[in-house]
Subunit: 441 residues, 2 copies
Amino acid sequence: MSLRLITKYTGGTLPGAEEYAELNELAAAAHNTLENGTGAGSGMRGWLRFASRYPDSGEYKQLLAAAERIRSQADALVVVGIGGSYLGARAVLEAVASRYYNEIRRGTPAIYFTGNTLSESDYAELDALLGDRDFAVNVISKSGTTLEPAVAFRYFKSRLIAKYGDAEANRRIYVTTGASPASSTLYQQALAKGWQCFAVPEDMGGRYSVLSAVGLLPIACAGIDVDALLRGAADAAAAYAAPGARLPDNACYHYAALRYHYYKTKGKAVELFASYEPSLTLFGEWYKQLFGESEGKEGEGLFPASVTFTTDLHSLGQYIQEGRRLLFETVLTFGGPANALAVGEEPGNGDRLNYLAGKTLYQVNRAAFQATAMAHESGGCPNLVLELPKRDAYHIGWLIYFFEKACAISGYMLGVNPFDQPGVESYKTNMFTMLGHPDYI
Amino acid sequence: MSLRLITKYTGGTLPGAEEYAELNELAAAAHNTLENGTGAGSGMRGWLRFASRYPDSGEYKQLLAAAERIRSQADALVVVGIGGSYLGARAVLEAVASRYYNEIRRGTPAIYFTGNTLSESDYAELDALLGDRDFAVNVISKSGTTLEPAVAFRYFKSRLIAKYGDAEANRRIYVTTGASPASSTLYQQALAKGWQCFAVPEDMGGRYSVLSAVGLLPIACAGIDVDALLRGAADAAAAYAAPGARLPDNACYHYAALRYHYYKTKGKAVELFASYEPSLTLFGEWYKQLFGESEGKEGEGLFPASVTFTTDLHSLGQYIQEGRRLLFETVLTFGGPANALAVGEEPGNGDRLNYLAGKTLYQVNRAAFQATAMAHESGGCPNLVLELPKRDAYHIGWLIYFFEKACAISGYMLGVNPFDQPGVESYKTNMFTMLGHPDYI
């Protein structure tokens, strides 16, 4: 098994045998609902088997070629998208490469994410960042009408035209959108202008779309091994295809069931996603959208929060240890180190650290994780630990699928539609009315 | 009044007249406890009047001179610190300058924050980032023995020595630490090596220390107007010095009292800090440490979370609108725009955005804020809005003091010590034992 779910830091809060039997039944029922397409939102299950099929598609080859072309024509790629059209790509970019990717890259374009804010100063700063560098734009929007990316695309498109003229600008625009003129204003414009198009699959919600062209085009531009990413997800799909006889036989279902248990039986209100790698911070944001948007409805759902340790042990650590007992943690850890950097020996030992000399940072970080898990467990905050052998494209692909399927199973266990987001319309209606949108007046 | 607390988006959840009278009494009592030093942690109130006095100190002049020297000797400043020795400086740097500061700076050093993680790959990446650039180190640690900064300082100090030799390395190390050999191993080493020292005030906890040398040295290196930052905090201290006859007379106390009201009377469990500026994201992290560490004890306290809108309306928006009704929001907004960037007109209107042509991004972002506040309010998530005239050093200084004092008042209202963090020791004890620390075996 590529991912291990470790439950030893849960301080006697695991379900008893009878509870486990009930959870197993609930999970099996959710599995049937998901697999048979009998549940709410059944039209949005395209992600279930996408990763094993996509590599054989014509679009995938075009996507790799487009990434190659972008790398040759641009020193910066401006990615325009919000929500699921933003978080997945950035999360993978940082998790597999680095949170410092833009500053340490070698030979691949800088990747700037925009269209996810209406902050004027953010536009001005991104303008300054681009300077006179060669750039290209990947605009990602299923309908083409979401306000933030539409405004940003209009802006950066005009900047492209001003810099390169119409014809060359058109060769530097890459569109990921709904694959028909009826479903997307972007698709209509792309037809007229000759922009290269990739599909936002119709049967996938934004938060489940990172392993489609939505996420893969920017990820491929950064030189990340997208083959391995998809292979990881495909292998996870095979590994978690069926519930086992017992819940622990399927780590994905087991995790979904334990979340349910902490929410329904143990009175926990907040799930705290934690990792010990700063480059996983954005992955925590992706996880928050996935679960928050899938389960936060009908007045229910765990509130998803995230931290990066040990950084946040020195900020939220106090609360986790001794604040209200409404939290449980889902902690992501990785196996052995890449570089084996060790603490040095220092003559005089002025900083009193020589007791660590020769220990690798990996060992020290690992001790911090174990010490923290034990401390939080005994403070009444149970820890579910997800351990991956390595932080690379393959295992991040695996992890993405793990969370996606766990989220779908979990949503059906709770009795909600894990694939819709009806509450997002509320502020949009207010906003479009205020702004005088022709469809809202 | 420089900061306005706007309560109109609270959907009938404000306290009634009688409740207001009780809250007023509670806040006045907390005020007396704080001002008279009769409460727990009374030795840690140094921040209360620090900002008006510090500019006249000898240390402040030395700090400005040191920042000038760092700017002339280094293209990168490595800031080594964790918790309160990290978050405040980075939050101000991003809030006043930009989250892209390192990439768009002109003539001031890049600022890299480390010593806040044990991630091996983060060390390797920061190494790559520094490359062969000239750099200096500011190590910030009250005791000098906190593990993460001690390990990082040993590492980057040895890198300095390898690059420059002992004498020049010593001229590139700046220490912010407890101001006596007894309280700090770092101070002892600094005496021996001749490193320039600045004080972590003994009467200020880390999370209240951003406007001391702890935060000000890196902030000044980035060219931010630290005079204005301190002036803002000093003016806020004067404005919030006394409770008024009615709670709304003192926005700081009013905010503290309303947090208490939502927690104790309205059953809210999570306070969600929101802004509409990506460069305020780190400020949200600072806010989370301040309140989480101050109040999260004895099994009590609001869980502090943060979001950046409109970005996260497309991830956590669904949960906020329709998930469990355990949230209230504290939303930070700013007055008029800096640049007045407007949406352009486009022939053909292929993206159907011409209805926005001529509107500034500020207006559109403002409409998003108002639309969201109304939507969340009607969904059962009340909004407390904090409005500042401008996003600049003066007003960020004001805001820092506002939150610090509100946090102290709020803690005393709850009956906890807002200045300690006893729960942080738990994992440290486990960790030092595992790692074979000589004091723990």
